[in-house]
Structure formats: structure tokens, C-alpha cells
């Protein structure tokens, strides 16, 4: 797997200490590493070229503060510029029109439009208290319409019933009428995935756009998308007056350089990111986190924020103190951590937000989201003393606990191993200086030791 920028740079950086200003020469090597990092993150080459030029202009002549190396300072500039390009700040969804506010979804096959349509509906219902109608114009892919119907039911919103044999345009017109009659405030229109080179299909969606006059036309792009993202975005932006971008499948481990390419090309803001297959897995976009991710610095900030949202504050603080001390982290805390993880969307959502070095450590701890419930059960069967001092757990006690929670002794053992691994990871995080890392990320500099 790829080295992240952090580890790449540590090789270069050491050689260049003690310089006071960034010069064409002392940033050269780092620039090359940054270019490679961006390529490996799938940022499109033409975008990289322009971007590097911009970074160079900003960087040369800048002072190198304190004991930093020029490499550090340059990465600071890179990170900052990435944030500037990706929007500077988050961009809100626009619904200011006579209802129904139509949102049109467009993108390639497999990008995630259908799931995202349902997620967006849920988000609008919950966050903006809107009455939403879901409409599918995908008459091509087998069962696509049915898929959206099922999702609509799951989130308990209205679905426009399509008549057999209706064309996408006919569906659009009828749905608009339906939405007016039933007082829907928002109407989300899912469309078939299409190739940017498929003229007929591109014409079709541009006709849909004319018919529907959407207030938002969102381009849905897969965060795994490669170099071609830039060309595809260009064609879609020419065919449709795009108003924003949704980046999907960010819960995967792709670095998501396509986000930068698409934004660079269209000049449109990324409005949401998809972070889980679950229908709650849609979030607003934060350029600073994405910048860190593209550079391979993890999404530590996102993690912090999410923790704040979902975790009970007091409990979290208690836990934080334990983590800090590295000691005293007992099975009760372990259980609490499990519960909190569940609140935060499960282990996988969490892992995806850790910086690379930790997420690897975390990968080793095989925490199956579905096992969480059983884990709690096992810990609940322990006495308070056992929870605080797991060392006392010998065979007979384990047997009792297993019987009490309806699992095998092996499972109890497995849990204990996991606990120990977690404890170790906590210590590691602590040694690495979580706090220091945060500071690094919040400021302009990445947390490079």
C-alpha cells in the first residue's frame, strides 16, 4: 500500500534543516513528493500541475519558522492551499424557491446516486424538517426504480409511483404535478447512471433539467474515481448547470483526490459526503478534513467533531482522561467505548477517520460491529472487580462469565485479547501525542514528528 505523505516526507525533510526561507531549490524535492502523493490520491494530473504552480508561487520567499524544515513549511502551504481551493468553508444546500424545490442527481453508473438520493431525503427531513418526495427516472437498470421505492419506505418518505412504460421526461412532468398537489417541499430526482460520452443519455438528462428547473443539480462522484474524474466532470458541467457535488463512499480507504479534481474543474462546491451505506451516512463537507485526507493525514478533526456530537460529554471526558493517562483503562471503559462507537456509526466509520498510522493499528483489532452487543453482554456478566482488574480472570471465572452471557469461553478470551490490544493502542496514541497531533492539524502544519 501507499506511503502516506507523512512518511514520504520524513525521508526528505531531514536533509534540509536550518534554512530560513523557502527557495526554488530547497522545496524541489518536497514538491516532487507532494506531486507523487497527489497522484496516488488520484488527483488529476492537469489539476496537480496548476496546483503545484500555485503552491510554488505562494511558498517561495516565505520564512521558515523556528526549527522547522523547508519541507514542513511547504507542506503547510500545500495543506492551506488545498483548503482554499476546496471551498474554504462548507456550502449549504439551497432550497429557496417556490416549492417543490427540485434536486436533480447526476453521475456515472455505480457512483451511488440512488442511495445518496435517499440519504439526502432523510437528511432534509431530519435537519430541515422538509416534506420530501423521491422520484426515480432510471428506467434502464433492472430494478433501479424498485430500489428507490424500498429506500423511500425505509426512511418513511413519499415515493412517486411510476407507471410502466413512462419515459424519464413523462415521469418528471407527472412527478412535478404530483409534488405540487401533495404539497411536497422538496422533490429529489434520481437518474440513471450514464457515461459522459453517451450523447443520447447526456441529452436526456439535459432535457430533464430543462423540464424540472431544479434549484440544485448535484453531480455525484465516487471518491474512488481515478484521473478521468476531471474530464467527466467537465462534460457533465457543460451539459448541465451544476450547482454542487456530492462525494460518495468516503468510508472506504480511497484518498479521494477526485474531490479536488472535480471541484477544480467545475468550480462548484462539494455539498455533502457519503460516509456509510446506512441511510444516515450523509454529512456536510469540510474542506480542511478532505485536504488532510488527500495528503494522507487522516481525518482526525472529523473524528473529534463526531465524538462531540454523538458521545455523552461527561463520559467522553472521563474516557479522555483515561486515554491520556494510558493506565486505568479497564473493561468498563472498554464497554463504554463500544457503546460510543455504536453511537458514532460503528467501528468502520471510526477507523476511516483515523490517520493512516492509527487506522492500521486499529485494523488489527477486529471489532465486528455486530459483535458489539455480545461484547456488552460478556462484560455485563463480570463483577465490578473483574472489570477493573481483568488480570484476575482465570479459567473458572471465565467459565462462569461465558455461561452467564451465553457465549463460549473462547469468545471471552477473544474479548480479552481485543481489550488488551485496545489498551495498547491507547498507549500508542498517547505516546504519539494525540494532543500534539491535533494542534498540528488545526494549524497549518501536519502532525509530523
Amino acid at each position: 500500500m501507499f506511503d502516506n505523505l507523512t512518511s514520504r516526507l520524513s525521508r526528505v525533510i531531514k536533509t534540509l534543516r536550518g534554512e530560513t526561507r523557502l527557495t526554488e531549490i530547497n522545496i524541489q524535492e518536497t514538491l516532487r513528493e507532494v506531486r507523487t502523493a497527489l497522484l496516488e490520491a488520484d488527483v488529476a494530473l492537469p489539476v496537480i500541475k496548476e496546483f503545484m504552480e500555485r503552491v510554488k508561487q505562494k511558498a517561495i520567499g516565505q520564512e521558515v519558522i523556528g526549527s522547522l524544515s523547508p519541507g514542513h513549511a511547504l507542506v503547510g502551504v500545500v495543506h492551506r492551499e488545498l483548503i482554499v481551493i476546496m471551498g474554504g468553508e462548507k456550502s449549504e444546500i439551497n432550497l429557496a424557491t417556490t416549492p417543490p424545490a427540485v434536486i436533480l442527481m447526476a453521475g456515472l453508473q455505480g457512483a451511488g446516486k440512488t442511495t445518496t438520493s435517499a440519504k439526502l431525503a432523510k437528511w432534509l427531513m431530519e435537519q430541515k424538517k422538509k416534506k420530501v418526495l423521491l422520484v426515480s427516472c432510471d428506467i434502464y437498470r433492472p430494478a433501479a426504480i424498485h430500489q428507490l421505492e424500498v429506500l423511500a419506505k425505509q426512511i418513511d418518505t413519499d415515493f412517486f409511483p411510476v407507471q410502466l412504460g413512462q419515459s424519464p421526461q413523462e415521469i418528471a412532468v407527472a412527478a412535478l404535478d404530483f409534488a405540487r398537489r401533495h404539497h411536497h417541499e422538496v422533490m429529489i430526482v434520481d437518474t440513471a447512471g450514464r457515461l459522459s460520452v453517451d450523447k443520447v443519455m447526456m441529452d436526456e438528462i439535459s432535457k430533464l433539467e430543462t423540464l424540472l428547473k431544479p434549484i440544485e443539480t448535484l453531480f455525484v462522484v465516487d471518491s474512488m474515481q481515478g484521473q478521468d474524474a476531471v474530464n467527466i466532470a467537465k462534460v457533465f458541467a457543460e451539459a448541465l448547470p451544476l450547482t454542487g457535488i456530492i462525494l460518495t463512499k468516503l468510508d472506504g480507504d480511497a484518498r479521494g483526490g477526485s474531490a479536488l479534481s472535480v471541484q477544480y474543474m467545475t468550480g462548484k462546491p462539494i455539498k455533502f459526503v457519503g460516509l456509510a451505506e446506512k441511510l444516515t451516512g450523509l454529512e456536510v463537507f469540510y474542506p480542511d478534513r478532505m485536504a488532510s485526507r488527500i495528503l494522507g493525514m487522516g481525518d482526525v478533526l472529523g473524528l473529534i467533531e463526531e465524538s462531540q456530537r454523538n458521545i455523552d460529554r461527561d463520559e467522553a471526558e472521563k474516557l479522555a482522561i483515561k486515554i491520556k493517562s494510558g493506565k486505568n483503562f479497564d473493561l468498563d471503559d472498554f464497554k463504554m467505548q463500544f457503546q460510543q462507537m455504536r453511537n458514532m456509526g460503528g467501528m468502520s466509520a471510526l477507523i476511516s477517520k483515523l490517520p493512516a498510522q492509527f487506522s492500521q493499528a486499529a485494523q488489527n483489532i477486529k471489532m465486528d460491529d455486530r459483535v458489539i452487543g455480545r461484547t456488552e453482554g460478556i462484560i455485563n456478566s463480570m463483577t465490578l472487580q473483574e472489570r477493573a482488574k481483568p488480570e484476575v480472570l482465570k479459567a473458572s471465572r471465565k467459565r462462569r462469565i461465558a455461561a452467564g452471557s451465553g457465549v463460549t469461553v473462547q469468545e471471552v478470551n477473544r474479548l480479552l485479547v481485543q481489550f488488551e490490544q485496545t489498551q495498547r493502542m491507547m498507549k500508542k496514541m498517547n505516546k504519539g501525542g494525540m494532543a500534539k497531533m491535533m494542534r498540528g492539524l488545526k494549524g497549518m502544519l501536519p502532525g509530523i514528528r
Partner: protein, 315 residues
């Protein structure tokens, strides 16, 4: 076997499928390699073409190094000569990927498909069913995606198109068990004396650890239905994805020991350089790329042939 069914039209079909790719990648190359000096500027432009084709830093570096060596050893001086040299170097890289797909060894021959969300698993199954039927084999489909909404209906639609049986759990059941659906399908295939079982699975990302555990379990259960099965575990990759393809290959291989690859959506503008990146992962012992998908229709799937693929890219 494969050679026999491959129509004479293969090359023209693949050319058609890859026309978009050739349009950008090939044209670009042709203009670059029309003639002139072989110099650093030329190499740099070549590098750009390969990188923008998603070949990745590793494969690109390897290809350019190989090319430089060739230029030296064969005393090439004109850019036009580079064209043939590049074709050869590309072929050398891709050739190990091409291997024939033999389903005669077992009956039923069980093929399991895996991949990330939206990669093209279900569609590929629809096309593979057609492909095997045209070889005179009987086929049965197993609706192992019990998770995604309407995934079952999607596969059933492909079953109808191909006129082959589909084993699925009944629709009233929520959150079914994929392993048992496939298990039943294999038994059904035995009972009906069917040659090939194609098992669909739900899309999953390698970071979804519980889903990766689930798919391991599916594989284990398949082995219980028939010893030695699944006989092939194919990872489906979307040609549009970038360097994450490499992570995907490694993660799915770690979980499942995949036996081969299917690359889909090559009819788009993606240049398919990801195939080169994949070839470079373990160059001595690369995974076979059995099939490539080039459209949404039932016959838009072809066995991968490195020579023809490279040829189709260029002219």
C-alpha cells in the same frame, strides 16, 4: 476452449468497446509518437499520458524505464519507432494477466463474485451467464446480495433475460443470510445437473470489517455445499476507479484469496491504465484478469486478451 468461442469479430468488438479510450489515450499517443526526436520532453509527455490513464506511479515508472532500455539496446532514434516499442513494453507488462478461464474441471463449477459497491458485479453476472450459455453450458444464478434494496430483483431480471434459474430467498424475508442462499443454490444446481453457478454478493468496502468477515463466512459455507468450491473467486473492479484499485485487490485477496479479476466499464472514458497498475502489484505472480466489461448490454463482456487489448488501444 476460449479461443474457439471467441468470435472472429473479437478484435473489432473490443475496438468498438474501447473506442473512447482509444480516442483520448491512443490519439494522444499517436500524435506524440508521430515522429521527431526522442528526448526528455517526449518522455515527460509519455509519463503524463500514462499517469492520466490511471497507470499509477509504479507502473508508469516501470514502463518508462523499460522503454528507455529498449531505446538504448535497439538504438532507436525516432519517436515514431517508440510506438512499436511502447506496444511491446505494454504487452510484456499485461501478458501475464491474460489466462483462459476453464470451467470444465468441476460440476457444478461455482464462481463467486465480490467487489465494492457499484463495481458491476450483478451486471457482470448477467453477462457471464450469457457468455457461458453461448458455450453450451447450463447456468444458475445465486442472489447472494440480500442486503441492498432491490438487488434480488435486479439479478432476477438478469435471470429472465438469460432464461436461467435464479435462486433467491423469498422477498418477504428481511435481512436474509447470503451464505445460505448460495448454499441452497449450489444444491439446486446439483439436483438440476447444472454446469455453472454464479454467486452474486453485496457490494462492500474493505474498511467495513464486519462485511469482510461476512464474505469470508460466505466462502466457507460455499465449501460446505461442495468440496473445493468456490472454484473461482472473482473480484470485480470498475475501470473508472483510480489507485484505490490496488488497495481493493489486496484487501479482498487477504479476506478471500481471490483467483481472478473482472474489470468493468471500459466502454467509458477511463483509459484502463489501472490494469497496468494491477499487473505491477505482484509482477511475478499476478492475478489473472479473466474478463473485461465494455457496456451495459448482455454481450458486452469479453475474455481479456493482452495482445488484442494493446492493439485496440493504439489504432
Amino acid at each position: 476452449m476460449v479461443a474457439k468461442i471467441m468470435t472472429k469479430n473479437w478484435i473489432s468488438e473490443i475496438k468498438l468497446g474501447l473506442s473512447q479510450t482509444r480516442e483520448s489515450f491512443g490519439k494522444h499517443l499517436s500524435s506524440l509518437l508521430g515522429g521527431g526526436k526522442i528526448d526528455e520532453v517526449l518522455y515527460e509527455e509519455l509519463e503524463a499520458i500514462l499517469l492520466t490513464a490511471d497507470a499509477g506511479v509504479n507502473a508508469t515508472t516501470w514502463l518508462l524505464d523499460a522503454l528507455r532500455k529498449k531505446v538504448k539496446s535497439e538504438n532507436l532514434t525516432d519517436a515514431a519507432q517508440l510506438r512499436g516499442a511502447l506496444q511491446e513494453v505494454l504487452f510484456a507488462l499485461l501478458a501475464p494477466l491474460a489466462r483462459s478461464f476453464d470451467t470444465d474441471t468441476e460440476k457444478p463449477f461455482v464462481i463467486m463474485l465480490a467487489g465494492v459497491n457499484g463495481a458491476g458485479k450483478t451486471t457482470s453476472i448477467g453477462k457471464l451467464a450469457h457468455y457461458f450459455q453461448s458455450q453450451g453450458k447450463s447456468v444458475l444464478l445465486a442472489a447472494g446480495d440480500t442486503f441492498r434494496a432491490a438487488a434480488r430483483e435486479q439479478l432476477i431480471a438478469w435471470g429472465e433475460r438469460n432464461n436461467v434459474p435464479v435462486i433467491a430467498q423469498d422477498s418477504s424475508q428481511k435481512n436474509g443470510d447470503p451464505a445460505s442462499v448460495i448454499f441452497d443454490a449450489i444444491n439446486a444446481a446439483k439436483a438440476r445437473n447444472i454446469d455453472i453457478v454464479l454467486a452474486d454478493t453485496a457490494g462492500r468496502l474493505a474498511t467495513q470489517l464486519h462485511l469482510m468477515e461476512e464474505i469470508k463466512k460466505i466462502k466457507r459455507v460455499i465449501a460446505k455445499a461442495k468440496q473445493g468450491a468456490p472454484h473461482e473467486v472473482l473480484l470485480v473492479l470498475d475501470a473508472n476507479i483510480g489507485q484505490n484499485a490496488i488497495n481493493q485487490v489486496e484487501a479482498f485477496d487477504n479476506a478471500l484469496k481471490i483467483t481472478g479479476l473482472v474489470v468493468t466499464k471500459l466502454d467509458g472514458t477511463a483509459k484502463g491504465g489501472i490494469i497496468a497498475a494491477i499487473a505491477k502489484i505482484r509482477q511475478d505472480n499476478t492475478l489473472p484478469l479473466y474478463f473485461i466489461g465494455m457496456g451495459e448490454n448482455i454481450n458486452d463482456l469479453k475474455p481479456f486478451d493482452a495482445r488484442k487489448f494493446v492493439e485496440a488501444l493504439f489504432d
